[in-house]
Amino acid sequence: MAKTYDYLFKLLLIGDSGVGKTCVLFRFSDDSFNNSFISTIGIDFKIRTIELDGKKIKLQIWDTAGQERFRTITTAYYRGAMGIILVYDITNERSFENIKNWIRNIEEHAASDVERMIIGNKCDIEERREVSRERGEQLAIEYGTKFLETSAKANLNIDEAFFTLARDIKSKMEQNEMRAGGSSSNAGRVNVGGTGTQKKSFFSNWSCSLL
């Protein structure tokens, strides 16, 4: 049987508490929106499969599990991430300024070739805007990333953000495939949670199941 996708990308959402990371995630994965602010509980990751240039791409998008609240995101969160969306709130100057800190964090802990993108969320609340679009664009240029203003509530640019990032990862990946090399070999990686991991060994028919 064929795989149901061609690529699997692990993406992360990062940014200050309350900028709408979880809302962006839910808008993209479930096309739903909930206005009330609840610090993220019980959200691990969400999955949506998209199609780009005839390739099926499975996006596995991880939420911070609220660990950004005291800047205590585990370094393990960054492992294996291929793309990171940095989120700030256009009605919150502080969250915009903190993007720099988050980028420093990424440089410290994520793979050096991770694709990044900055989005200014809540762009539907124009009357409370504190960060102009130009400043957002400027910051993105400074760090050499793409930029979009989004609204999870009004469903503005959310799909575009994820599609753009996925496209960038895909083209980088296809280039790398030609060059090969880079990170340690993926061969031989074991996921202990998988169910079909029982390999036949010569011991298995003697099944020694004491413990």
């Binding site: 050096s112 340690s184 074991v190 079909g196 390999k199 011991f203 020694c208 413990l211």
Partner: protein
């Protein structure tokens, strides 16, 4: 970012080492509110993995005890009349740390500069406690049960080396064959030995499934004798004896006949589970595991705050009532702490000193074509010591830059310097032309305390230990009686968001919902007022309203539910009937028919705000005591996760198994 810490939680966890992280995640998953604190800026405490730049910074990080003025100040603000302030300790779990860059003649530029220039310092992951996972061991089981396995990846320890001293006193490193193929291809064993080995394996397998009378008797008699004696009895020659003992000795140093047999069986059972080797190593180092459990705890609502001073505890009678951290008071009902935090005046019951040395090299101790994850049992070279081993992990394990390795030496101390694991490692390096460019050495203290007098509601997590596996840690954690925690749940504000599973298990079946709690006809909020009255014991009464001759219809509007004779459990209100107003005397409360247990309210329905349910379950008679499923195989179901998420996970695992099948087919074809 200076958000305030919460004022009240169920559990405060001090230290983010692996055992504390597992306990925190268990508590969070059981629905308790958890605040997890660490004085360090990083996760993992004494179980951490560091990058090369971090490891040098951490060394300079010292915590000073509180001054008398500080204690007086804290006491004045935070401690009530009947309470006592107890300063938390800062035990030296890791001590005598020394780190050096070793200059080498062959380097034009120092390796430090070279690595810094290339930005490779952060590619190191230097474990304080390097361990391996046994494929069928309880750590792997815990990872699977808790689904923390989602967060981590592993690689097989694909090479075990067994050193022997040759006549010219050189150390020869022989690969230990694990699988059938490897045994037959091995050049270390003669054909006769191979046959004897296979015979022994067969015996083990039989013994563990249905032991023959003979085998049982033999082991019964010899259980506590050395394993080697037992092997000799089995007709295993000396070379093979030492070979077997060295191989399983990594799991069970100095085995007796019984412990040796158990270890042999565990070893063989794990072979082939994930691949030819029975052992796994976590990518990016063992420190990842504590972080992964912390993430699980966070996903279930645990709050994380690192890099803050954690100063003292507040005690009333024999219970800790609060923690003072960052000069804030956090009231709590339970405290879990790593050994590091145990107050200085508590006596150490037992302390095992573990000698640790880490080398950074740019050549493997035994070069082969493909990079390996290597385990070397040094027991044969240090027979007096209980623990002596090397673990070599590099780029393949994501713990070093490409072409580099970390060699971890671990040993219990014995005899003089020339017998230390460090000196043996250095001999191995020299003989194999490996020149380390960096070295760190320290002593780890595996401390146990008598904490009974410290407080009735304190759990001290297991310390770091010298075993190569995690079995003992998990076993000790399973012994931690978390059930004690949940007894108090009845008195606490139960957070319904996470305890739904437990309510289901309690016999209240809320799943088949037909009642809309928001239906204006049913006024649950008014019912609550009466239930909350502390004087009502709705559980203890044995009066059944149905059989009583009290006709509620003839009473005033506003039936007094506080009447101690009312047994609400058998109350049988038909909540499904629209427009019921419990205060309305016209309701026939005697009417049997509503069993709330079958009423099936779907608490997963997002329209019901469970965080503010209005219904106070504290005294409602739902006994949560017996439904806490906290550990290991009894992790609660993930039923209450959004359905979409679950199906995706399932879908994913299906896909994975499909891939596996595919791969299997491919290999079959290739053959």
């Amino acid at each position: 970012m200076d958000e305030k810490l919460p004022e009240n939680v169920d559990v405060v966890v001090l230290g983010t080492g692996l055992p504390e992280a597992i306990l925190a995640s268990a508590c969070a998953r059981a629905g308790l509110s958890v605040l997890h604190l660490d004085r360090n800026e990083y996760y993992g405490g004494d179980w951490s993995s560091f990058t090369m730049s971090m490891v040098h910074e951490v060394n300079e990080n010292k915590i000073t005890p509180l001054t008398t003025e500080q204690i007086a100040e804290i006491s004045k603000i935070h401690v009530k009349e009947n309470e006592k302030l107890i300063e938390l300790g800062n035990r030296e779990v890791v001590e005598n740390i020394e780190m050096t860059w070793i200059p080498r003649d062959s380097d034009e530029k120092s390796m430090k500069e070279k690595l810094e220039e290339m930005g490779q310092m952060r590619r190191f992951s230097i474990d304080l406690v390097p361990k391996i996972l046994v494929s069928k061991g309880n750590m792997v089981q815990t990872l699977c049960d808790s689904q923390v396995s989602h967060y981590a990846e592993f690689k097989l320890i694909n090479r075990q080396l067994c050193p022997t001293e040759t006549k010219d006193s050189k150390i020869q490193l022989n690969p230990v064959p694990c699988s059938k193929g490897e045994i037959f291809q091995s050049s270390v064993l003669s054909i006769l030995e191979k046959r004897a080995l296979m015979k022994f394996i067969t015996f083990c397998t039989q013994w563990s499934t249905k032991p023959s009378e003979e085998g049982r008797q033999l082991l019964g008699e010899m259980a506590d004798r050395p394993f080697s004696e037992f092997l000799a009895q089995m007709g295993v020659g000396e070379t093979l004896q030492s070979f077997i003992i060295n191989t399983i000795g990594i799991l069970q140093p100095r085995p007796t006949a019984m412990s040796g047999m158990l270890a042999s069986c565990e070893f063989m059972d794990s072979v082939g589970h994930f691949g030819p080797s029975p052992f796994l190593f976590p990518l990016y180092g063992c420190g990842e595991l504590s972080q992964c459990f912390c993430r699980l705890a966070a996903v279930f609502g645990s709050l994380y705050c690192l890099g803050r001073p954690v100063q003292a505890m507040v005690k009333e009678d024999d219970r800790i009532t609060a923690i003072i951290a960052n000069n804030e008071r956090i009231n709590c009902r339970h405290v879990i702490m790593s050994p590091r935090f145990v107050p200085e005046d508590v006596e150490i019951q037992k302390n095992e000193k573990i000698e640790r040395v880490v080398f950074a090299t740019d050549k493997s101790i035994k070069v082969v074509e493909k990079e390996q994850l290597t385990l070397v049992n040094l027991a044969s070279l240090r027979p007096e010591a209980a623990v002596s081993r090397l673990v070599e992990v590099g780029f393949e394990a994501c713990t070093a830059p490409k072409g580099h390795f970390l060699v971890h030496a671990t040993g219990s101390s014995c005899g003089g310097d020339e017998k230390s694991v460090e000196s043996i490692a250095e001999r191995i390096f020299e003989e194999n032309e490996v020149v380390p460019y960096w070295k760190m050495s320290f002593t780890a203290n595996s401390m146990k305390f008598d904490t009974k007098r410290l407080g009735a509601n304190i759990v001290v997590a297991p310390p770091v230990d010298s075993n190569i596996h995690y079995s003992n840690v998990i076993e000790e954690l399973e012994d931690v009686n978390l059930r004690d925690f949940s007894v108090d749940l009845q008195e606490s504000d139960v957070d319904l968001r996470d305890s739904i599973v437990d309510l289901l298990d309690a016999g209240v079946d809320l799943r088949n919902r037909s009642v809309d709690l928001q239906d204006p006809g049913v006024n649950l909020r008014d019912l609550v007022v009466d239930l909350r009255d502390p004087g009502v014991d709705l559980r203890g009464s044995d009066l059944d309203l149905r059989d009583s001759d009290v006709d509620l219809r003839e009473r005033d509007p506003g039936v007094d539910l506080r009447d101690p004779g009312v047994d609400l459990r058998n109350f049988c209100v038909d909540l499904r009937e629209p427009g019921v107003d419990l205060r309305d005397p016209s309701v026939d409360l005697r009417n049997p028919g509503v069993d709330l247990r079958n009423a099936g309210v779907d608490l997963r329905d997002p329209s019901v705000d469970l965080r503010n349910p209005g219904v106070d379950l504290r005294n409602a008679g739902v006994d949560l005591r017996n439904c806490r499923q906290i550990f290991c195989s009894t992790w609660p179901d993930l039923d209450f996760l959004p359905r979409a998420m679950k199906s995706e996970e399932e879908e994913e695992s299906e896909e994975k198994s499909e891939e596996k099948e595919e791969n299997a087919e491919e290999t079959a074809e290739n053959q």
